[in-house]
Symmetry: D2
């Protein structure tokens, strides 16, 4: 099995058993070792008191992309710290894409950056996440 095939297999296993990513309506556009692209559409039930997408929605999409990208390397990866800056607000019907890339990977620690963009290509949120990489391998 190549690294690419293993990445696909791990992320499929995670995704198939992830009820919240499914509630969000997350689609997988791309999976490679250390890299992942996801897409979803903002629905009415995802809005906050300002009539725009709740900050937790964009965070959740980015966090899923981060989890998939970091685990796709083959070992169980758990989130140590994550941050997000919201730059452009989102309304019902907006389609957003989250692209996770690996900034740095060491034996125990991995750093990831996730850009969330709208259909116009504007960066609507910038997410950064750090994982601790356990010894345990994905089967």
């Amino acid at each position: 099995m190549t690294n690419e095939e293993r990445a696909q297999r791990i992320v499929s296993k995670m995704y198939d058993n992830d009820p919240f990513s499914r509630w969000l309506g997350v689609e997988r556009l791309k999976t490679e070792p250390g890299h992942c692209v996801l897409r979803m559409t903002v629905r009415r039930e995802m809005l906050n008191g300002f009539g725009i997408a709740h900050g937790g929605i964009t965070f959740s999409l980015a966090d899923s992309a981060f989890a998939f990208a970091s685990n796709s390397r083959g070992r169980h990866a758990v989130s140590i710290d994550t941050s997000i800056s919201h730059m452009v607000s989102l309304k019902e019907g907006d389609v957003i894409t989250a692209t996770a890339i690996e900034e740095q990977l060491s034996h125990r620690i991995g750093h990831y950056r996730v850009e969330v963009r709208n259909e116009a290509g504007e960066m609507v949120a910038l997410f950064r996440g750090i994982v601790y990489r356990k010894s345990q391998e994905w089967e």
Copy 2:
């Protein structure tokens, strides 16, 4: 109207129109100027591929507490940056409480800290948020 009454009124207005906080099942336990306590229960549809609460769930609860606490000061407050560290994982049925306190408030910027704890009182996540305070007042 006292500051306490105004805080209650603003947060009620935000909460009554927040479909995502309602989907989460957020209950308001306390609202004071710059301060807010919320509670919710982890449901099956909030889990991720590891069978524990998705990171976006804890973030969303903390982000709501942060938004309520910062806006309760009277002026529209928008999130500039937020971060969260997950310390203890959560399973279906766990009841979690988010307590937002104000670290610092200046004319344009506010800093908030949100502790999320489980029923045993353990800190399950630590959230920190910064807002930009607009000139626009809540009616």
Copy 3:
């Protein structure tokens, strides 16, 4: 040797061999396991182009307090991520105190919070740091 004695011994060893903390003029006010209080005075050579203390000065003091507090637990602790928000600007002659406390400690990860305050007791900066705890013990 008690945990308190070991903490003192480790931090003395770190401090005695730390040329930059010495350049800063850092004084140790308190050392306990997971806890540390440091003090220093802002000098002219520590100012930036606005005539106030360079952001790196407050960061450095807080980062030293964080390193001492986390290593005082007995195992080598390396910084994974740190952040700082500057709230009040400092001028030449200001005396600042950094107090590091442990938010959470697990086998591999430790979370610390450092408050930097001026002589008036105002919070001038809020620092947060996360360490990875190696297996290697301090001798």
Copy 4:
């Protein structure tokens, strides 16, 4: 005066009056609106108790690049929040370069990313900073 000339002029004014950047031995390699590249060499007095560069040194270089890049846009920019992850440790004699780029610029808020690399081109630290942009223009 073009935007490029104004950026040069502002950063020269900041740099000429910045005693700490001078103590660090910071050289300016490039200045453009929203962008800045700086270089320095790690000296013995910049080391910590592990015999490697104190975390405050790398932070300070990155923070200077961030301050120059954000102010070069023409208005006074003050730091709201900054974070840094240290990835590779530095020893005496290492030459490091900090490259600040603008992630996003709005009327009141600017987001910057600073990569610090060693002579081998490895990323030794990743810094992120957010500014509040005052109305006041640089003369």
